[in-house]
C-alpha cells in the first residue's frame, strides 16, 4: 500500500510544482492538478478497500520517526479512508467541473484548489491538536482564495466576512490549545483524552474554547451568517467542496474532540446540532435564491450529523453507520445540487425550470432530492430508520420529534423546488450543459445509487435495491426511449406476473388487496394505451408506486412495510405532479404523506423499543401504557393516506388535477394503501384506550364525519373530477367507520367498500376523464346533452352511479346491505345517524353527473365531439362486467374473506348457503334482486317506448330567447350552483375550516422564518458579534456540564 502521507505530500508537492511551471503551460498545469487529485483519490480508495474488504487494521503514521507526543502522528482507519476518498473525489470532480475557470485563471488557482483538498486530508488524518489548527488555517486561506473563483461580484464581501469570523475562531482556538497543552502536557488528541483533560484544572475551559472554535467551522445557527453568504456568492463548484467535503472533515474533527471531552460534552453537541437542523430548515422555507437555500440546507444536514455524534452514548456501534449514512447522502446530494446549479443561468428557484426537457438532469436532481429527504433506497433512509429506533428505544422523544419535524420542513422546500422545475413557466432558453459538467453531475447521481446499494447491504434489513418490484420499476428508467405502448405492455405484464407469482402466498385479505392493486392496476393501465409518444417519466413513477404497493401487502416486518410505504408515496407524488395544474396539490400531498410517514415511523419505533427488527405481528405484544400512543401515531399516519377529514385537504386537488388515467390510479388504488394499513393496525392492536377514551370510537367519529363532510362538499362542486374526489373522502369515511366498529360485519363492509370503491371510482374517473378530454372542460355546467354523442360513456357513468349510490341491483347495494346490518350492531348511535344521513347526500351529487353532463341541452361548441377514446372506454366496460358479476355472485370474493374475518370476530358471520346470504337481521338474494329489478326496468322501459312512439321531436332551438346576455353567462345556467338551497342550509358545514387551519399553520411558519432570517443582516461586524454571543451563551449554558 502507498503510505497515506502521500495524500498530503502529493497535494502539497504538486501545488509547489505548479508554482515552478511557466504561466503559459495551462493545459499541462491543469493535467498535473487532475493527476494529483486522481492519485490521492486512488490512494484513499486503495486504503478504503483494504479496510473494508480485506479487514486491515488501522495504521499509525509517525511523521518524525518518533511516536507521539514527541512528534505529530497521523492515523488512518476505515472512517478516515472513507472521508479522504470523499474529499479527494469531490476535489477531483470539482476540478473537472472547473475546467474552463481554472484554465482561465491559471496555475495559482489550481494550486489553491490542491491546498484545500490537502488540508482536508490533514484534518482527517492528524491526531495532533496544533496540527489540526494549522490545517484549519490552510482551509481558511484557501477558502479565501477559492471564493474569488466566482464571477459573482458580491463574492468578495462574503469572503471578507468569512475572514473576519475566522480570525475570531483562530484566537479562541489558539488560546484553547495552549491552555490545553499547559494542563495536559501534550498536544496529542489521544494523549489528552487519556489524561482526561476536562477533569484537569483549567482543562475544561481550554477544551471549551477548542471545541467551540471547531464547532464554529460547522456553521452552527446562529453563528453562521458568513457561511450562508459564501454559499450564495461562491462558485458552485467551490460550494460543492465547501458543503460536501470541508464540512465532513470538520465534523470528523469535532468527533475527535468529543473523544477528549467525553460523555459530558455529548449533550452540548446534540443541542447545537439539533438547533441548527431545525432552525436552518425553517429559515430555508422563505428563500428564493437557490444557492442560499442549499446553504441553509447544508447547515441543517451538518447539524443533524452533529446531533447524531452527540447521541453516540445510545447509538453505540451504530454511530458510524448512521452518521455515515446521513453524511454521505448529504455530501453526494449537496455537491451534486451545487454542480447542477452551475448549469442553471438564473439564481431564482423558478429559473430551474430550465432543467425541464433534460431527462438526465431531472434524474440526477430527483436522486439528490431523494437522498437529502432520506427516502428509500438511499443511505439516509436506512440511517434515519436506525436513528429513530434507537432514540425511541431510549426514550429521547423530544429529540426524535424535532428531527422528524426538521426533516419534514426540509422535504417541504425541496419538493416545492422540484415542483417549480416540472411545472414552472416554460424556460425561454434551453440549457446545453457542457459534457464535462454533465458527467460530473451524473457521476454524483450514480454514486448516490451505489451508496444506496452499499448501505442497504450494510443494514441489518432487506437491501431494497435487491428487491424485484423496485428493480422492475427502476428498469423503466432505462427504457425511456421506447414508445409508450411498448412500455405500457411491459408494465401490464409485470403487474400480472407479479400477482401470479405471489398468488400462492397471499392470505384472503392480501389477496383482495393484491387483486385490486396489481390486477386492478393493470386494468387501469389499459387506458394508458391511448397516450401517444414516449410519455417520459410516467412509467418509472407509476411502477414505483405499484412496486411500493406490491411490497406493502406482503411486508412482514415494520422496516419493509415502511420502506414500501415511502416508495409508493414518492411514486404517486411523481404521478400526481404530472397533471397540468397539479403543482400545489402535489406538494401538499407529499407534505401530508411524508408527515404521515414520519408518524408511522415514530409509531413503529416506539413499539419496537429500540429493536430495529420488528415484525408487524409483534404489534399485538406492545405493552401498556405505550400501546395507545403507538396506535394513535400509526392511525393518524394511515389516515393521511385515506384522507380522513382534517387531513384531507390535499386530496381534491391532487385527484382532480391528475391526468385522465392517473386519477383512477391514485383514487381507486392508492387510497387503499391507507385502508390496508388501518386493517393491519386494528387486526393486531385491536381496541385501545387513551385516558379512558376508546380510540376506535374516535376513529368511528372521524369516519362518520368524513363521510358526511366529504359528501356535502361533493354536492357543491362544479368540477366533475373534484366532485368525484370529494366523494372519495366520503367513501373512505364509510370504510373507516366500518373498520372502527370492530366487529365482523363492520370489517366485511369495509372490505366491500375496498372492492366497490375501486371499481366504480376508477370507472367514473375514466369516463369523466374521457369526457373532459373531448369537451376540454371539467366544469359540468359547461357540458350537457352529451347522451347522444357519448352513449357509451353515459352507460358507464349510469352503471357507476347506480353501483355507488347503493341502490339495487348492483354491488353497491350489497355493500349497503352489509352496512345496514353492521350498523345495527354498532354500539354508538350518534355517529351511526351521521353515516345514515350522508347516504342520501351521495344521491345528490351522483345525480348531477348524469343530469348535468348527459341530459339537458347540448352546447353549441360540443356539437361535433366524438365518443371517448377506445382505450379509455375499454376498461370501463370491463368494470361494468365486473360490477355485474360481483353483484350476482358477491360470494366469489367475500366468502373467503368472511371466513378469514371469523378468525378475529367469530360472532356475526354471514351464512353463504346457496344463492342467498343470511345475516342475523335478514337475507339478501342477489340473483332474485337482479331479476326483479331487471323485470321492472324492462317493463317500464317498454312502456316508455310505447307511450313515446307518437312524441314529436323538438329541435334544440325551437324556443324563443329573450333578454340580455348577463355578465357571467354561466350564472343563468340552471346547472350552475345546482344545490344553492342546500348550500344556504348546510353551507356552514362546508366552510374551509380545515384548509384554513393548515394554511394558517404554513403561513405562520413562513412568516416566522421570514422575520427570523432578518437576523442575518449582512453586516460582517454583526456576524462577528453573533459569533461572540454564541460563544458566551454556550459558555454559560455549558457551565452546567
Amino acid at each position: 500500500m502507498v503510505s497515506p502521507i502521500f495524500i498530503i505530500a502529493a497535494g502539497l508537492g504538486t501545488a509547489f510544482l505548479l508554482g515552478l511551471l511557466r504561466d503559459e503551460w495551462r493545459a499541462a498545469a491543469y493535467g498535473l492538478t487532475l493527476a494529483a487529485l486522481a492519485g490521492t483519490a486512488a490512494i484513499a480508495g486503495g486504503w478504503l478497500w483494504a479496510f473494508a474488504i480485506d479487514g486491515a487494521a488501522p495504521v499509525e503514521i509517525l511523521t518524525a520517526g518518533t511516536p507521539a507526543p514527541f512528534a505529530i502522528n497521523l492515523r488512518l482507519g476505515l472512517p478516515e479512508a472513507a472521508l479522504l476518498l470523499l474529499a479527494n473525489l469531490t476535489g477531483l470532480l470539482s476540478a473537472v467541473y472547473l475546467k474552463d475557470t481554472l484554465s482561465h485563471l491559471g496555475r495559482r488557482a489550481m494550486a489553491v484548489l490542491l491546498i484545500i483538498v490537502m488540508a482536508m486530508g490533514g484534518i482527517i488524518l492528524t491526531r495532533d491538536l496544533f496540527n489540526l489548527f494549522v490545517f484549519f488555517e490552510l482551509i481558511v486561506i484557501s477558502t479565501g482564495g477559492l471564493i474569488l473563483l466566482s464571477a459573482e461580484r458580491h463574492a468578495l464581501g462574503a469572503g471578507f466576512k468569512y475572514l473576519i469570523v475566522s480570525q475570531l475562531i483562530t484566537i479562541l482556538l489558539l488560546i484553547g490549545i495552549i491552555f490545553a497543552y499547559h494542563a495536559a502536557g501534550t498536544l496529542n488528541i489521544d494523549g489528552m483524552a487519556a489524561a482526561s483533560l476536562v477533569m484537569l484544572k483549567g482543562g475544561s475551559l481550554a477544551f471549551f474554547l477548542i471545541f467551540i472554535a471547531v464547532v464554529a467551522e460547522l456553521k452552527p445557527v446562529p453563528a453562521n451568517g458568513w457561511a450562508l453568504d459564501i454559499y450564495e456568492a461562491a462558485h458552485p463548484a467551490f460550494s460543492a467542496i465547501f458543503s460536501a467535503a470541508v464540512a465532513s472533515a470538520s465534523l470528523f474533527a469535532v468527533d475527535k474532540l468529543l473523544l477528549i471531552g467525553g460523555p459530558a460534552w455529548l449533550p452540548v453537541a446534540t443541542a447545537i446540532g439539533i438547533i441548527s437542523f431545525v432552525a436552518s430548515n425553517l429559515l430555508a422555507l422563505p428563500q428564493t435564491n437557490d444557492r442560499r437555500m442549499l446553504g441553509y440546507s447544508s447547515v441543517g444536514q451538518v447539524g443533524l450529523i452533529l446531533t447524531v455524534l452527540g447521541q453516540r452514548d445510545i447509538l453505540g456501534d451504530s454511530t458510524l453507520f448512521i452518521a455515515g449514512g446521513i453524511l454521505f447522502s448529504h455530501a453526494v446530494a449537496k455537491a451534486g445540487l451545487f454542480w447542477l446549479s452551475g448549469l442553471v443561468a438564473g439564481r431564482n428557484l423558478q429559473d430551474w425550470s430550465a432543467l425541464r426537457g433534460q431527462p438526465l438532469l431531472i434524474f440526477a436532481f430527483v436522486t439528490f432530492l431523494a437522498m437529502l429527504s432520506g427516502l428509500p433506497p438511499f443511505p439516509g433512509f436506512y440511517a434515519k430508520w436506525e436513528l429513530i429506533h434507537l432514540l425511541a428505544g431510549h426514550g429521547r422523544l423530544v429529540l426524535l420529534a424535532l428531527i422528524l419535524f426538521g426533516a419534514l420542513l426540509e422535504a417541504g422546500y425541496l419538493f416545492r423546488w422540484f415542483g417549480y422545475i416540472i411545472k414552472g413557466e416554460q424556460p425561454t432558453e434551453v440549457i446545453v450543459p457542457a459534457r464535462h459538467k454533465l458527467s460530473v453531475a451524473m457521476i454524483a447521481a450514480l454514486a448516490g445509487w451505489a451508496l444506496g446499494y452499499l448501505w442497504g447491504g450494510l443494514s441489518a434489513h432487506n437491501n431494497l435495491l435487491q428487491t424485484l418490484p423496485l428493480l422492475f420499476a427502476l428498469g423503466f428508467l432505462l427504457l425511456e426511449w421506447l414508445p409508450a405502448w411498448i412500455k405500457n405492455s411491459l408494465a401490464i405484464a409485470g403487474l400480472v406476473a407479479w400477482f401470479i407469482l405471489g398468488y400462492p402466498g397471499y392470505d384472503p385479505l392480501q389477496l383482495i388487496f393484491a387483486t385490486i392493486m396489481l390486477l386492478g392496476g393493470a386494468l387501469i393501465l389499459m387506458a394508458s394505451y391511448h397516450a401517444q409518444g414516449r410519455r417520459v417519466g410516467f412509467y418509472p413513477s407509476a411502477m414505483l408506486m405499484y412496486a411500493g404497493l406490491a411490497m406493502l401487502i406482503v411486508a412482514k416486518d415494520s422496516f419493509n412495510f415502511f420502506a414500501a410505504w415511502e416508495l409508493l408515496t414518492v411514486g404517486s407524488y411523481f404521478l400526481i405532479l404530472r397533471g397540468k395544474h397539479s403543482e400545489p396539490h402535489a406538494l401538499s400531498y407529499i407534505v401530508f404523506s411524508l408527515g404521515g410517514a414520519f408518524l408511522i415511523l415514530a409509531g413503529f419505533a416506539l413499539a419496537a423499543q429500540g429493536n430495529s427488527q420488528f415484525s408487524i405481528e409483534a404489534l399485538r405484544q406492545v405493552a401498556q401504557p405505550l400501546a395507545p400512543w403507538v396506535f394513535v401515531l400509526l392511525a393518524i399516519g394511515f389516515m393521511t393516506k385515506t384522507a380522513a377529514i382534517g387531513l384531507h385537504i390535499w386530496l381534491p386537488g391532487a385527484h382532480a388535477e391528475a391526468e385522465t388515467d392517473v386519477s383512477p390510479m391514485v383514487s381507486g388504488i392508492l387510497l387503499k394503501a391507507g385502508l390496508f394499513g388501518l386493517f393491519m393496525l386494528l387486526m393486531h392492536m385491536g381496541k385501545q384506550q387513551l385516558y379512558g377514551v376508546e380510540l376506535t370510537h374516535v376513529l368511528m367519529w372521524i369516519g362518520a364525519l368524513s363521510a358526511l363532510i366529504g359528501n356535502l362538499l361533493a354536492i357543491f362542486q362544479e368540477d366533475a373530477k373534484r366532485l368525484l374526489a370529494y366523494s372519495s373522502i366520503g367513501q373512505m369515511g364509510y370504510a373507516l367507520f366500518g373498520l372502527a366498529m370492530m366487529n365482523h360485519l363492520g370489517w366485511l363492509m369495509a372490505l366491500m367498500f375496498v372492492i366497490n370503491h375501486y371499481i366504480y371510482k376508477s370507472m367514473l374517473f375514466l369516463s369523466v376523464g374521457g369526457i373532459a378530454k373531448r369537451t376540454g372542460t371539467r366544469l359540468m355546467y359547461k357540458m350537457g346533452g352529451l347522451i347522444t354523442l357519448m352513449p357509451l360513456s353515459f352507460i358507464a357513468v349510469l352503471i357507476g352511479i347506480i353501483a355507488m349510490s347503493g341502490v339495487p341491483p348492483l354491488s353497491g347495494f350489497g355493500g349497503r346491505w352489509i352496512f345496514y346490518n353492521a350498523i345495527m350492531t354498532a354500539e354508538y348511535r350518534l355517529p351511526m345517524i351521521l353515516i345514515f344521513l350522508s347516504g342520501p347526500i351521495a344521491f345528490l351529487y351522483l345525480f348531477r353527473l348524469i343530469h348535468t353532463i348527459f341530459l339537458g341541452q347540448l352546447k353549441d361548441e360540443h356539437r361535433k365531439i366524438k365518443e371517448a377514446p377506445f382505450w379509455i372506454l375499454l376498461p370501463q366496460f370491463i368494470y361494468v362486467v365486473c360490477l355485474m358479476v360481483f353483484a350476482l355472485v358477491p360470494g366469489l370474493a367475500l366468502r373467503r374473506v368472511d371466513a378469514y374475518i371469523s378468525q378475529f370476530f367469530p360472532q356475526g358471520a354471514l351464512n353463504w348457503e346457496g344463492l342467498t346470504i343470511t345475516s342475523d337481521y335478514g337475507y339478501w338474494s342477489p340473483v332474485s334482486i337482479m331479476v326483479v329489478v331487471g323485470v321492472i326496468f324492462m317493463t317500464l322501459f317498454a312502456w316508455l317506448l310505447f307511450v313515446n312512439r307518437k312524441a314529436q321531436k323538438v329541435k334544440q332551438f325551437n324556443i324563443v330567447f329573450a333578454g340580455e346576455r348577463p355578465f357571467r353567462p354561466e350564472t343563468t345556467h340552471f346547472a350552475w350552483n345546482f344545490f344553492a338551497p342546500y348550500r344556504k342550509a348546510l353551507g356552514f358545514l362546508t366552510q374551509p375550516l380545515v384548509t384554513g387551519f393548515w394554511e394558517t399553520l404554513t403561513d405562520l411558519l413562513h412568516t416566522a422564518a421570514d422575520v427570523a432570517r432578518r437576523f442575518y443582516t449582512g453586516n460582517a461586524q454583526i456576524y462577528a458579534i453573533h459569533f461572540l454571543a454564541f460563544v458566551v451563551v454556550l459558555f454559560l449554558l455549558s457551565r452546567g456540564v
Binding site: 473576519i164 475566522s166 480570525q167 483562530t170 489558539l174 498536544l187 453568504d229
Partner: protein, 118 residues
C-alpha cells in the same frame, strides 16, 4: 513576569477585538486583528515560560542530559512561530481583499458590503 505577560496578552486581545468590532473601516479592522493576534502570541509564549530557566538551545553550555531540567518548554515557542507565520498569511489575504473591495466600490466601510443577507 509570566503573569504580566499573560495579562498583557489578554488585554491586547480584548483591545484588538474591541477595535475590530467598533471600527467600520476595513483597514482599521485588519490592524485591530493584528493587535489581537499579537496578544495571542504573547499568551502562548507566556504560558510556556518557566521562571529561571534558559532558552531551549542545546549547545556546549547545555548538554542534552541536563536539558530537561534547565530549559523552558520549547513547544509553545515552536507553536508561536507557526502561529505568527499563519497570522501573516491571513493578514496579507485580508489586505488583498481590502484592496479588491475598494476597487469594486471605492469604499472601505464594512457596512457598505451588505448585499448578501437573510
Amino acid at each position: 513576569m509570566a503573569h504580566i505577560a499573560l495579562a498583557t496578552g489578554f488585554i491586547l486581545i480584548l483591545i484588538g477585538l474591541y477595535g475590530a468590532l467598533t471600527n467600520r473601516n476595513i483597514l482599521r479592522m485588519i490592524v485591530s486583528f493584528t493587535v489581537a493576534d499579537t496578544g495571542v502570541n504573547l499568551v502562548i509564549v507566556a504560558v510556556g515560560y518557566l521562571r529561571g530557566r534558559t532558552a531551549p538551545i542545546l549547545d556546549a553550555t547545555l548538554p542534552a542530559a541536563e536539558a530537561a531540567a534547565r530549559i523552558i518548554d520549547p513547544v509553545p515557542q515552536a507553536l508561536v512561530l507557526t502561529a505568527i507565520v499563519i497570522g501573516v498569511g491571513i493578514t496579507a489575504l485580508m489586505l488583498a481583499y481590502a484592496y479588491k473591495l475598494h476597487e469594486t466600490k471605492g469604499s472601505l466601510d464594512i457596512a457598505d458590503y451588505r448585499e448578501l443577507k437573510w
